[in-house]
Structure formats: C-alpha cells, structure tokens
Amino acid sequence: MDNGATMHLAVSLFSGTADPSPEPEFDRLARFAQKAEAAGLDMVLLADAAPASSSDAANRQVPFEATTLLAALATVTSRIGLVAMASTIAHQPYNLARRFASLDIISHGRAGWHATMVQAPREAANFSRPEGFSSADFRRRTEEYIGIVQGLWQGWDADALLFDKGGGRFHDPEKMHLLDHKGEFFSVRGPLNVARSPQDMPVLVLSGFSEHDLYVAARTADVILLDERSAEDTKARHDDLRRRVAARGRDPDAVKVLINVSPVTGGKPAALADRLEEQFHSTSCDGFNILMPAQLSALDDLVDLVLPELRRRGLFRAGYRGTTLRSHLGLAGGGDQ
C-alpha cells in the first residue's frame, strides 16, 4: 500500500530527440522504455505534439504518433506504465476511448491517456475547424469529452465475459451498459466494443490547467501534472485540489500530483536528488515528471546516479509491487489488490 512516504516518478519523452544513431528509431525508444522499466519508474509519458510550425515539422525525428508507439512499446516491456498524449481535437471521443481501452488490454493494464486542457494552436485547422474553439467552448467541450471517455471505459462490467462455449453464452448481456450520452457537443450511444480494462480503467493524466480547470481535474483525473513553481504556490494548489477532490466525494489521495521537472544536465546527481527531496517534502506532492532533454542518454544519469541516491534516502521504492499502472501509482482499482 502506498502511504505517501515514497515518490512516484515518470519520465516524459518528447518527439524531437537528437542522439545521432544508426539504430532504427523504434529500437532506441524501446531501449529507453526498457531502461526506465529496469529502474522501476512508474511510467513513461509519450508526447504527441501537433506541428507548431511547418518548418519545425520537417525536422522532427521521432516518426511515430503516440498511441501507435505505445502499442509497440507495450510488447517489448512488461511492467512500466505507458501513457500517450492524445488530442481531443484529433480524435472523436468514441475512437479515443476505444483506442486506449485496446492499448490497456495490449499492455495488460499499463496504459494511460494524457489529456490537456489547453487547445494546441493551429491544431484545429488541420481537423476541418479553421476557426478553432473559444477558450470557454474548449473547456466545456473537454470536460464533456473526458466524461464520455471515462463513461465508455465502464461500459462492460469486469465479469461480463463468460466464454461459455457449451451454453452458447459469450457474455452476459446484463453486464454490458449503454452510455446514451447526449450533451452540448457530442452524442454517443456506446458501449465500446472493447472489453473492460485489466486495471479497471486506463489512467487519466491531465495537464495544462488554469485555476478554472481544477474542478474538472478534481472530478476526473488520476494524475495531474503541474509546472514547477514556488513551493508555497504549489502547496496551495495541491491543498486546493485535495479539497475539491474530497468535495466530489472522492478520496483526496485518489489524485496524484506530479511536478514537471527539467533536470539540469551535467549537474551533480546528489543536487537533483536534493532538489526532488526538498520539493517532495515542502509541496507535499506525490512525485515528479522528469522532462527528458533531447538526448535519450540523459536517462542513464537519472537511473544510474540519481535513483540510487533517492533509494538510499528511502524516497523511492525498490521495485514494482504490482503489474498495472494503477497499482504502481497507488490508485484504487489497480487489478492487483
């Protein structure tokens, strides 16, 4: 059981990696994920940016869209959580819910969806909406969207599949539920045509909030990512979030707060360990999302130098206890309990 004494650690992988290597791109990324797994990290977050500008696009080196990359990485890892960013503009909610439900089964309960509350500039223009959405519309639409996705993820009860060849009953129709959602932006009947998640539901990671959005996070998120600010500010936001989570009738520990950290490369490992320890205590956050620089080899320093130091101080667990991402994160419904 997670008692909050040890931190959760994620690493974020961005699309513009820059190690010169003759190795196929996927093999490099697979080694990265395997190294993070060997180190016992909770999860790898896969970014999936829409093009910021046309000239930038041509220089991208990782040629993969995040959900497809997640599926491939799932087959070459066995414990680490895999979270893909996917845009609410680029996908219809039914398709997105279905993709992640499938990824969760492929990975045996290690998948998560990273949604952002911020509208990517330019993106809507590639999806037949040149005018985009107003901020207020985007916020209401995202809230509705997340509700649909999580609703669809619960369309099949955990014991719905019977596989009864002799009796001719594949599933129990009473344990399959329509969503019948009719809202401002979407109407979705459901259910998904993918079975229930091995970890109950894929993990929902949210980022990019303004203060207005905390109520959405309080209701729906499993993990939220906050940018690094002053300790007082972060602690105040965290406390606010916990109050809101409790007000929604959820356990305040049901939402894990990770702070985005950019490690200073070349610094002393003990210095990063000090920084994480200090923030972990002063902000009462649940852990960190380490933003990897362009060189994947930066993971080596983290794993070989910083993690042993954190473990020596009793701040990071020795290894995985369960097999699902929910279980790594100490979230309910992990499938391992």
Binding site: P51, P63, T68, L69
Partner: protein, 421 residues
C-alpha cells in the same frame, strides 16, 4: 518470372464463422489476448502471406443484445493499436487495417497510418470504408446514416486529402496552401517523415458502382466477395476496365476476392469439419446476421423455412444485399438455409476439401483472370489459419503459384506495386 498470387490473412475475432468461438479448438479469449494475435501474425508471416488484414467497426455488430451475447464479436482489439503491436513483433508481413471515412478526419488518419508504416518499416495499408451501420452512427452524434452517395463523396475527398498528405503534396510551404474542400480542411503537412514505401497501401472493398469508381481512382488493392467464377471474373474485368479512365494501368490494382477454405487431409474430413461448425449456429443468431447483410431489421418476422421476402432498396451495403438475393434465387434457399450459408463464410466463396482441391480451385480463378490473389478467411482461429498455412500454401508453392520467401521488405514490394513519386 511467372505471375504469382497474393495472399492476405483476414484476422477477425475468434474466426469468421459466426459460431467459431464455440468450436472446441477455437481460442475463445482471442479478443483480450494479444499473445494469440502475435502467434497468428507469426504463423502467417512464416507462410509468406503478403499481408494481415483487420476489418473494423466503431461499435457493436448487432443491436439485439441477446443475439450479440451469443457471438464473440462484441469485444476485440481496436485494429490500429493491434497492428502497431504486431508491427514490432513481425518483420516482413504487411499490416492492413480498416478505418472509416465517416468517423475520422483525414489529417489524423493519415498521420496514424503513416506512424504504423514507420513502426513496421513500410508495411502498412489502409482499407477505406465509408461505414454503413446505424449502430456506429449512433456513437458519433448522428441520428441516421448518410445517404450512400454522400458517404462516397465524402470518402472521395477524404482519400484525396490522405494521399495528398502521404505524398507530401498538401504542403502549404510549397505553395499549394493545404486543402480547403467540401467536407474537410487541412492547413499543415504531416509532422512525420515520408513513408518508407512511398506511401501506405490503399485498399478498398466497396463493390457498388460508385465504390468501384472510387477504387479505380485511388486503390492499390481491392477486396471483394464473389461466390462464382463468373461473378468474380465480371467484377475483375469491370474494375480493371475502369482504370484507364484515371490514367492507370491494369496491373496498378490487385484484386483479391475473399475465400473461406475448410481444409483437411481428406474431402470427407473437410466437410465434416464444416458441418461441425454449422451445427453450432443458433437459428436466431444466423437470421440476425443475415438481416444485417440485407440491411433490414425484421427478417425474424418471416417463416424461417420460407423464402426471402421482397426487400426495399437499402442505404446500407447495396452490393452485399444484391449478392444475398441473387444466391437465394439461384439456389432456391430458405431463410434458414441462407442464414447458415452466410453465417459460415460471410458471403464469401467457400471451398471445403483437401489441399490439392483448394489449390486447384484457387489456381482456376487466378489463372482464369478472375483474381490477382485471395484474402483468406479462416473459419476459426488458430486452427483454420494453421491448416491453410501448413497444407495449402506448400501446395501452391510446389506449383510455383506462391512465393517461397519474401523478395522485398515493404508491402508495396510484396504486392508488386509501384512506389508513388
């Protein structure tokens, strides 16, 4: 070199036979078991199949929950994620997934398939469908199905944008200014490098007149359902004949009709195997399936041992409806007989026999100018895919009709398709 046939391995749930999941040797948990699919992919790759094929629908197959619960088709993997997983667990075989032009946007679809193409080193293909099911429509805010012609007009524009993105021809920087059309607008080029095979392979299966025109304009591969040699040949000649109008050559499209083989050491064994599956079909399930092919809801109202009633024209799968009606009249079949027949092979050509008999039948259609290859539709998994791979493929190889090893690395190379400029 002599012309060789192309082979697809059509993966679907526990098998294509509606009662496949009840077969004692069927892998009943296929829909939640990725290792099962990795084994199937490796079986097909070891047998040198050109491609794996996944069909798709963004919704349940059957609206009646009681009927649906007696089939294995209500749950399974979403095919893009499935094929992305298989891409890095295989090295040569092509990976083709179905995706709808009605419930996606071209930019996202082009990007996703291009990513699959990169993960697989140039082995991806997209099977374009326009989606004909009301059940799917209800998952996408629609109150009803679009008329057939509208669906195809949207599909035509969709395909044009996707291929434009793949070919790097929608690059705003190059002066073309993206795409601003009737149904879609796109501003930027894709943020991924060009495909290792030039562009993913374009596949289609629509067989209506407007579907054939769209295929003639854009497809590299066409899947089709044809019961008899004459039907297959007529379709083949018609489609190849449409290519010149689009400045294309006859060999620019590979036509691969579906074939549902039941193979065994002896013909009697093969028939027995087939009957064993047929016996597992509940009547209500068979009739419901037949109803879906006919795009009507109330077939169960009619006497099961009587003939098909007169049917209204459909906005759904027009060509499949025509095929069922044609067969019911030709063979004078009752609703029950038709239901069982179509439940068995889903309207595709069924052959039960020895490896030699199956190879003979395939050879006759291939050499008779009715097919460039076949999309193999195993009745249940893994058994019938294994049987085809171990019995029929060696026989085809012995006759020089199928490759003994892959010559190329990409799907376009396997299929003998030109690399787009």
């Amino acid at each position: 070199m002599t012309r060789q046939m192309k082979l697809g391995a059509f993966l679907w749930a526990t098998g294509h036979h509606i009662a496949a999941w009840r077969h004692p040797k069927a892998h009943v948990t296929a829909g939640i078991d990725i290792d099962h699919y990795i084994r199937l992919a490796r079986t097909a790759e070891a047998a040198k199949f050109d491609l794996l094929f996944c069909e798709d629908a963004a919704g349940l197959r059957e609206a009646n929950v009681g009927i649906a619960s007696q089939t294995s088709r209500s749950i399974g993997f979403e095919p893009i994620s499935l094929l992305s997983a298989l891409a890095v667990q295989t090295s040569r075989i092509g990976l083709v997934s179905t995706a709808s032009t009605s419930y996606n946007e071209p930019y996202g679809l082009a990007r996703t398939f291009l990513s699959l193409d990169h993960l697989s080193g140039g082995r991806a293909g997209w099977n374009l469908v326009t989606s004909a099911s009301q059940i799917e429509a209800a998952n996408f805010g629609s109150t009803g199905l679009r008329p057939h012609a509208d669906r195809y007009e949207r599909a035509r524009e969709f395909a044009e944008v996707v291929t434009g993105l793949w070919h790097g021809k929608l690059d705003g920087a190059s002066g073309s200014g993206g795409h601003d059309g009737q149904s879609f607008s796109v501003r930027d080029p894709l943020d991924l490098p060009r495909s290792p095979q030039g562009a993913p392979v374009m596949v289609q299966a629509g067989a209506s007149d407007v579907g054939r025109d769209l295929a003639a304009r854009t497809a590299d591969v066409v899947f089709t359902a044809a019961q008899t040699f004459e039907e297959a040949k007529a379709f083949y000649d018609d489609l190849k004949g449409r290519l010149a109008a689009y400045g294309r050559e006859r060999d620019d499209i590979k036509i691969m009709p579906g074939v549902a083989p039941v193979v065994a050491e002896t013909e009697a064994e093969a028939r027995e195997k087939y009957e064993e599956l047929q016996e597992l079909i509940p009547d209500d399930v068979g009739v419901a399936l037949l109803s879906s092919y006919l795009s009507i809801a109330d077939l169960w109202r009619y006497p099961i041992d009587g003939p098909l009633p007169e049917l209204p024209a459909t906005e759904g799968m027009q060509s499949r409806q025509a095929l069922v009606i044609e067969q019911s009249r030709r063979d004078n079949l009752s609703i029950r007989q038709l239901a069982r027949h179509f439940a068995g092979a889903r309207g595709h050509w069924r052959i039960a026999g020895t490896a030699v008999q199956v190879a003979d039948a395939l050879q006759a259609r291939f050499e008779g100018g009715a097919a460039d290859g076949f999309n193999v539709i195993p009745s249940y998994f893994p058994g019938e895919l294994d049987a085809f791979a171990t019995l029929v493929v060696p026989e085809l190889q012995r006759r020089g009709l199928f490759r003994k090893d892959y010559d190329g690395r990409t799907l376009r190379e396997h299929l003998g398709l030109k690399r787009p400029l």
